[in-house]
């Protein structure tokens, strides 16, 4: 029983509390998932400034959509799906204003994270070999710890292809890292 409690994500309860009208519970969700949301949003939008907007938008959407959350399912997957939708909306809204090339040019100039150790620099360069989708899948699998089927549900692909893409991405990273040493 104790083990069971350890496995339950506190946000599972928090989101259901939010749905019941307890807005203080949202703070817990923010503390637990804030960094992850911003990290995934950054991955999708490629821009820290947008990622912060997405974080705020995501929190608002959680508040609004909390009643759709099914208690006992993975709250992380639920939150990240909202994050992804919000980020895609953000990109779409920008597309109306700027052409795609302009956006990517702007985004390239704003890079947030500067790794210091050699190992991290290698990983950062290796990640650039991957396509944006592959990067997202790897981040969701490793950092957000989602299952393949949860990722598939989130990005709207089937589980088998996500698994395949993930494996291929790892192979690419491995090849790059081994080549670089």
């Amino acid at each position: 029983m104790i083990l069971f409690w350890n496995f339950t994500d506190p946000c599972d309860i928090a989101i259901t509390e939010v749905a019941r009208g307890n807005k203080n519970a949202l703070e817990l969700v923010y503390r637990e998932y804030g960094r992850m949301i911003i990290s995934v949003a950054y991955q999708i939008t490629g821009n820290l400034c947008d990622a912060e907007d997405v974080l705020q938008d995501t929190m608002i959407r959680i508040l609004r959509l909390s009643h759709t959350y099914k208690k006992g399912t993975n709250p992380k997957a639920w939150v990240l799906k909202i994050t992804k939708n919000s980020a895609v909306d953000k990109i779409n809204s920008k597309k109306h204003a700027l052409s795609f090339e302009e956006i990517t040019e702007q985004e390239k100039s704003q890079f947030a994270f500067e790794p210091e150790t050699d190992e991290f620099i290698l990983i950062r360069d290796a990640l650039k070999v991957l396509s944006r989708e592959e990067q997202l899948i790897v981040k969701l699998r490793i950092y957000a710890d989602l299952s393949h089927s949860e990722i598939a549900n989130m990005i709207g692909a089937n589980t088998a292809s996500v698994r395949k893409k993930y494996q291929r991405a790892l192979e690419k990273l491995k090849a790059y890292c081994e080549g670089g040493r």
């Binding site: 019941r20 009208g21 807005k23 203080n24 949202l26 703070e27 923010y30 804030g34 960094r35 992850m36 911003i38 990290s39 950054y42 820290l48 990622a51 912060e52 974080l55 705020q56 938008d57 929190m59 608002i60 508040l63 609004r64 959509l65 009643h67 759709t68 939708n85 909306d89 947030a112 994270f113 790794p115 190992e119 991290f120 990983i123 950062r124 790897v138 981040k139 490793i142 950092y143 790892l170 990273l173 491995k174 890292c177 081994e178």
Partner: protein, 651 residues
């Protein structure tokens, strides 16, 4: 370096990256979120300012509501029902058990414009709805063109839900009556357990109420897709609901505005004008229906002439002709039908069959220049099919057979019909012997016991992956009456489906007249959007357009012909010599003829039953002297059917 090493480093890297992000306002408290939500809502647009007086009135009502509401709010904050309002702005109001607003949220951008910086929390539902609907009216969201309001109520208690819906209808309709606006109001009950609707709402960013409406429309008409419907406005959805008479989980009052669209009369006139000028048709009787097709609101004008049923699709917004099609109507010749349906049983009785208890299936059909009833019934476990001439009552037995293998009750013992018949096993053994098949090769067996040509007989169908054998055996003495072998359609069709999945069937055909023409038919489903409208006025491509645009690449892709070159300009396919005129499409390296479209001549387009375009028949010229006369005498000569030798690779 293993996968787990990489995963470990990646995890560390991502964690470090995430730590470098500074979370805005790390010491956030819940109240900040409420502020943010208000801050995130943009200010209302300027149109509103011109109606200052109305605003002041609304504000005054609200302010009063706010003060009253704030007092109540302290007492009870629990949400008991959720009401969502969709016009195009979507707003969601959460109510407590006293129907006092606990929370208001905009579900889309227009909804945010509507709410603006209004504070509705704490007011009762009447004031909140009054304010919201008024603002929608003033800002031109509810007009004489778009007059549909969708109200969805989520409350698990059945009676409360119903009461609240009634209350809302009366609030809105009395309000709109004062404003002299006619309005269609849909109220519906939302089930919290309706996971499908919630998934749809999440997927397309629409309200749960709209999602539920879309689902009920989709279940009513399989031509609709949820994705296409999600883009429609509430007014358009309401029109479709009205038109389809779809069942909703609630009520619909008033009628949705059609003022956006041309009238049915105008659509009819457009259709008539188009038919007269483009097709030389003059129509009198017609039916007209309003529908949603291919992401447009359209009128379908359908009418019949003596031989065909036609339809014209007219765009409901602009009155453009979007499509045209026709289908043949099978008319019965006008003869006196002297025999009535009720006489049929009597006629059957005269055949010595007690007809009173029989269940008959009767169809009136056109048969060989006369009108006949086709009557089917089961008597003594045998299936009878009779044709009774409707003019003179003449009876013709078409079929008389055991009911097939599907019905387990059918006896395989036919001794009551025939003295000492041979058994099914014996017949099957004979058939297999005749077909020279080994039992392992047989993929399918069908046995029927039937009365045909004055004899009781077994009709046995054996299949292997290449051929289908039909062997008819006399049930009295076991003689083989008939033996046929043909290509197994099942496998051949699959073999020719090819890579794109568009080939539907492919046949080579000898014209019965023996004109020296060999035709191959290829019928396939239209490839959207390739088979779209050329200029918007005609619903299909002309033959010339089609052949120049798609045939070459399509044939090349699908490699319909794989044959051996015999002499210059001639090719052999399965023992048949085909002369082709242009050898530029012949691939000498591969020894394959890829394309023979240059020699194709046009025939009537093939149509679906509903008149929609399907494909063309082609004719291919063959030199008559190069293959035996018998190929010219039958319809689909079995030797002419073409199966590529490497057919296995396609399936």
């Amino acid at each position: 370096m293993t996968n787990s090493d990489i995963e470990k480093v990646l995890k560390e890297y991502y964690t470090a990256e995430a730590d470098s992000f500074v979370l805005p306002k790390d010491d956030i408290v819940a109240s900040d979120f409420e502020n943010k939500i208000i801050a995130a809502v943009p200010k209302r647009k300027g149109i509103f300012n011109c109606k200052v007086v109305a605003t002041l009135v609304a504000c005054a009502v609200l302010l009063l509501g706010v003060f009253v509401g704030m007092y109540i709010r302290k007492q009870n904050n629990a949400v008991s029902s959720v009401v969502s309002i969709d016009v195009n702005p979507s707003v969601e109001i959460k109510l407590n058990k006293n129907d006092v607003v606990v929370e208001v949220a905009a579900l889309n951008g227009d909804g945010q414009d509507i709410i603006g910086d209004m504070v509705l929390e704490g007011t009762d539902v009447e004031s909140a709805l009054d304010a919201l609907i008024r603002i929608m009216l003033e800002n031109g969201y509810i007009t004489e063109f778009q007059n549909s309001v969708l109200i969805s109520v989520e409350n698990d208690n059945n009676a409360e839900n119903q009461d609240l819906r009634k209350k809302i209808i009366s609030i809105i309709s009395s309000l709109l009556e004062n404003e002299n606006t006619k309005c269609a109001i849909i109220t519906q009950r939302v089930e919290k357990s309706d996971a499908e609707a919630y998934a749809l709402a999440e997927k397309f960013g629409i309200s749960i109420g709209k999602a539920q409406t879309i689902l009920s429309l989709c279940s009513n008409n399989s031509n609709y897709s949820a994705e296409a419907l999600a883009k429609l406005s509430i007014n358009e959805l309401t029109l479709l609901l009205e038109n389809a008479n779809a069942k909703i989980n609630g009520e619909l009052s008033g009628s949705a505005s059609k003022k956006m669209y041309i009238t049915a009369l105008a659509a009819k006139n457009t259709a008539i004008e188009y038919l007269r000028t483009a097709h030389g048709l003059d129509i009198k009787n017609h039916r007209i229906s309003f529908d949603f097709d291919n992401e447009r609101m359209v009128y379908f004008v359908t009418f019949e002439t003596e031989d065909y049923e036609y339809y014209v699709k007219v765009g409901a917004v602009d009155g453009h002709i979007l499509g045209f099609g026709k289908s043949e109507i099978e008319y019965l010749p006008t003869v006196d039908i002297k025999i009535k349906e009720k006489d049929i049983k009597e006629i059957i009785s005269t055949m010595g069959i007690p007809a009173d208890d029989l269940v008959l299936s009767v169809k009136l059909r056109h048969s060989e220049g006369a009108v006949a009833y086709v009557v089917e019934f089961v008597y003594k476990k045998l299936m009878y099919e009779l044709e009774i001439n409707a003019a003179n009552g003449e009876v013709k037995v078409i079929k008389w057979e055991s009911e097939g293998n599907t019905d387990s009750e059918v006896s395989t013992d036919h001794s009551d019909l025939l003295e000492n018949p041979i058994t099914e096993e014996e017949a099957l053994e004979k058939a297999i012997y005749k077909s020279k098949l080994t039992p392992e090769d047989i993929t399918n067996v069908g046995i029927e016991f039937e009365y045909d040509n004055g004899k009781w007989q077994y009709e046995i169908v054996l299949e292997d992956i290449h051929y289908e054998y039909k062997i008819t055996i006399n049930a009295e003495n076991g003689w083989i009456l008939d033996y046929e072998r043909g290509w197994n359609e099942k496998y051949r069709k699959v073999a020719l489906v090819g890579t794109t999945g568009n080939v539907y069937a492919f046949k080579m055909k000898i014209k019965p007249e023996g004109t020296g023409l060999c035709g191959f038919t290829e019928v396939y489903k239209p490839m959207e959007p390739k088979f779209g409208y050329v200029d918007g006025s005609i619903g299909e491509l002309s033959f010339n357009d089609w052949i120049t645009k798609y045939t070459e690449e399509w044939f090349e892709e699908n490699r319909l012909f794989v044959g051996e070159l015999i002499a210059d300009g001639q090719i052999e396919i399965n023992g048949i010599y085909i002369k082709y005129i242009y050898n530029s499409t012949y691939d000498k390296e591969e020894n394959q003829l890829l394309l023979v479209y240059n020699q194709l001549t046009e025939e009537e387009p093939v149509r679906e039953e509903d008149g929609s375009f399907y494909g063309y028949y082609f004719l291919l010229e063959l030199p008559k002297e190069n293959y035996p006369e018998e190929y010219f005498t039958s319809g689909f000569g079995r030797g002419m059917d073409y199966v590529p030798e490497d057919a296995t690779k396609y399936y």
